[in-house]
């Protein structure tokens, strides 16, 4: 899927940036408005796929030198770890904690372990989607 279309590539970069931005927003907003780890992760991988379509596999690998299998494992560890943290405090597994903090510059923030959990979800979703696309893509 090699293509040298400069316009497409430039456009892709712009769109990619937008999508990633959007997906990050979606990811963080998830607790309050529609979104969350899934959608965020899917959108991000959508962006990477777009990158794949615009450039070739090698280029993308150069830009994003990620072992997606490890990414999946790391995501899972994140999610499990968030839950397993509860084991240390002898509260039920996956018990979340949250607190509101006021930071000087960022202002009012809600720190929530659920967000860490959702990050795990995000990583797994990106990793899985990429693994699927990549392995099939490489096989062709």
């Amino acid at each position: 899927m090699k293509t040298n279309d400069v316009i497409l590539q430039t456009a892709t970069k712009v769109v990619l940036f937008l999508i990633v931005l959007f997906s990050v927003y979606i990811f963080f907003a998830g607790h309050y408005t529609p979104g969350g780890g899934f959608v965020g992760g899917l959108l991000t991988s959508g962006a990477i796929i777009l990158l794949l379509l615009a450039f070739d596999m090698k280029t993308v690998e150069k830009i994003l030198p990620v072992n997606y299998m490890y990414m999946i494992a790391a995501g899972l560890l994140f999610a499990i770890g968030t839950g397993a943290g509860a084991l240390l405090f002898n509260v039920p597994f996956l018990t979340h904690a949250f607190t509101d903090v006021d930071l000087p510059i960022l202002g009012h923030l809600s720190l929530h372990t659920a967000a860490l959990f959702d990050l795990g979800v995000f990583l797994v979703v990106v990793g899985v989607t990429m693994i699927i696309i990549k392995t099939i893509g490489e096989d062709d």
Binding site: M69, I72, A73, I80, A86, P92, F93
Partner: protein, 497 residues
């Protein structure tokens, strides 16, 4: 530690993830997988002890009170099944060190095994009907991976069938949960029971019965009862021995467990219709299973069809619904998981030595492999329920319960099924181990002694389980008591409800 009961799920889960990182290092993988399986066994033993001492263990995940969050429940039944699963997992992992090719090991074999155990232990432990679905999916997805890994022709072909049937059953599971949710508005299993109980004073509403039958179909597809078992013999034929052992020992039993759980917890007030249906299906499963078992001259097929027989026997015990028959069913369930795993591993060794699973091409193995032969002999007798080995007490109680509930024909068929089970399995012994010994190509490459470790452990357990029934009995009867009195389960989960 209140989180104790989640450990048999969590340990394999973390192990599975770690094994992804260790994919390229086979020795490291074996080390991690073996150690973790061993730890899981120890933890499960402790869990059984804890349940025995302190009663049913529950864990409200994320600290939300039942029925709003997901609750894990370890009653004795679940704890025992978790223990059995862990032991079988350990045996299969040990066996795999020698019994599976390195290529498969590199491609996440151990990780998939661990995830499978996550799913199975989770299904045994969860107290939430939708969460049960999720664990089913974990288990199934791992089984898809295990059945197809290696990518040989037969594996690919049978995987398609296996996948298709299970996709359908999953979809049916989802709609069954949807219907149930529509009627009772909750997902926590204890809470469902309470609510169904509330409306069943004047008899269980028809819609609940319909949903019950739908659940029976869903779990029956997993548990391989008549007429939902067609997929099983072909699919189980495809994967290598340790995978087959895991499947044969665990997967169908999860279906059986789910039937036992839901039918004793939710759907017990139906006034006989479903029970009758269950009895009939169980008996037909036994008959067709036996017919299949005596039909073939293929060692794998013979044992595979015996899975269906066992499922029928256990379900018959559950459907008879007397205290004896429930105890017997649980006795038999655990026995069968253990001894099926042993048999599949032994059959795997036979196939590894001879390079075939066609009994007509095998003979005289006992001359060179007496240990294998006698281990097999014991396992075969266990399977047929010959006292004092492990199958006996369970079968005795099931038959007793069957007679008590006046299912004379059914109980008689269960009784006589032992004969044909014995015939089918001794056919392997008589023809495969006896007879003139032959030379097999490549037999020298097989390290039989090392592969024997796992089945020997399992058969030793079978012997102990039978001879030492007295030690096991209190646990099993405690497990059956929860089934017979759903109130115990409900009180444990919904403490203040």
């Amino acid at each position: 530690m209140i989180n104790f009961l989640i450990l048999p799920i969590l340990i394999p889960l973390v192990t599975g993830v770690l094994l992804i990182f260790a994919a390229k290092h086979i020795m490291l993988q074996r080390l991690i997988a073996g150690l973790s399986a061993l730890i899981t066994v120890i933890v499960s033993v402790l869990l059984v002890k804890k349940v025995n001492n302190d009663g049913i263990q529950t864990l409200n995940l994320s600290n939300w009170d039942a029925p709003f969050g997901i609750t894990l429940v370890s009653d004795m039944l679940s704890a025992l099944l978790v223990l059995t699963t862990s032991i079988i997992a350990l045996a299969c992992v040990i066996y795999s060190f020698r019994g599976i090719d390195e290529d498969r090991e590199k491609f996440y074999f151990y990780a998939a095994v661990n995830f499978l155990i996550v799913g199975v232990n989770g299904a045994f432990t969860t107290g939430d009907i939708f969460n049960l679905f999720v664990f089913f999916e974990v288990m199934l997805m791992s089984s898809y991976v295990l059945i197809v890994i290696g990518g040989t022709k037969i594996q690919l072909r049978e995987s398609i069938k296996y996948l298709l049937v299970n996709v359908i059953s999953s979809a049916l599971f989802v709609i069954a949960v949807a219907y149930l949710y529509s009627v009772v508005g909750t997902l926590n299993m204890a809470h469902i029971s309470v609510r169904i109980n509330e409306i069943s004073e004047l008899g269980q509403p028809g819609i609940i019965t319909v949903i019950a039958v739908l659940f029976l179909i869903v779990f029956g597809l997993k548990g391989a009862i008549f007429p939902l078992f067609f997929w099983l013999p072909g699919s189980y034929y495809a994967p290598p021995a340790p995978v087959l052992a895991l499947f044969g020992a665990l997967l169908t039993k999860v279906g059986v467990y789910s039937i036992a759980r839901t039918y004793t917890l939710f759907f017990y007030q139906d006034g006989g219709l479903i029970q009758q249906l269950l009895t009939i299906l169980a008996v037909i499963s036994i008959i067709l299973g036996i017919i299949g078992a005596i039909a073939y001259w293929d060692i794998k097929k013979i044992v595979i069809y015996n899975i269906i027989v066992a499922v029928g026997v256990i379900l018959f015990g559950i459907s008879a619904m007397t205290q004896d028959s429930l105890i017997g069913a649980i006795f038999y369930l655990i026995h069968d998981m253990n001894v099926k795993a042993a048999l599949f591993l032994l059959v795997g060794i036979m196939a590894a030595i001879t390079g075939t699973s066609d009994l007509r091409k095998i003979s005289g193995l006992i001359k060179r492999y007496p240990g294998l032969g006698w281990t097999f002999f014991l396992a075969a007798l266990s399977l047929a329920g010959i006292p004092p080995l492990s199958g006996f007490v369970g079968k005795l109680l099931i038959i007793k319960g069957g007679f008590e509930s006046e299912h004379y024909w059914g109980a008689g068929i269960v009784l006589m099924s032992s004969l044909l089970v014995l015939f089918s399995i001794m056919k392997i012994f008589i023809n495969g181990f006896w007879g003139t010994s032959r030379d097999y190509e490549g037999a020298d490459k097989v390290s039989v002694k090392r592969m024997m470790a796992a089945p020997v452990i399992l058969v030793a357990i079978a012997v102990f389980y039978g001879v030492g029934s007295e030690f096991v009995y209190p646990y099993i009867s405690q497990a059956a008591e929860t089934l017979a009195n759903p109130g115990i389960y409900i009180d444990a989960v919904l403490k203040e409800y």
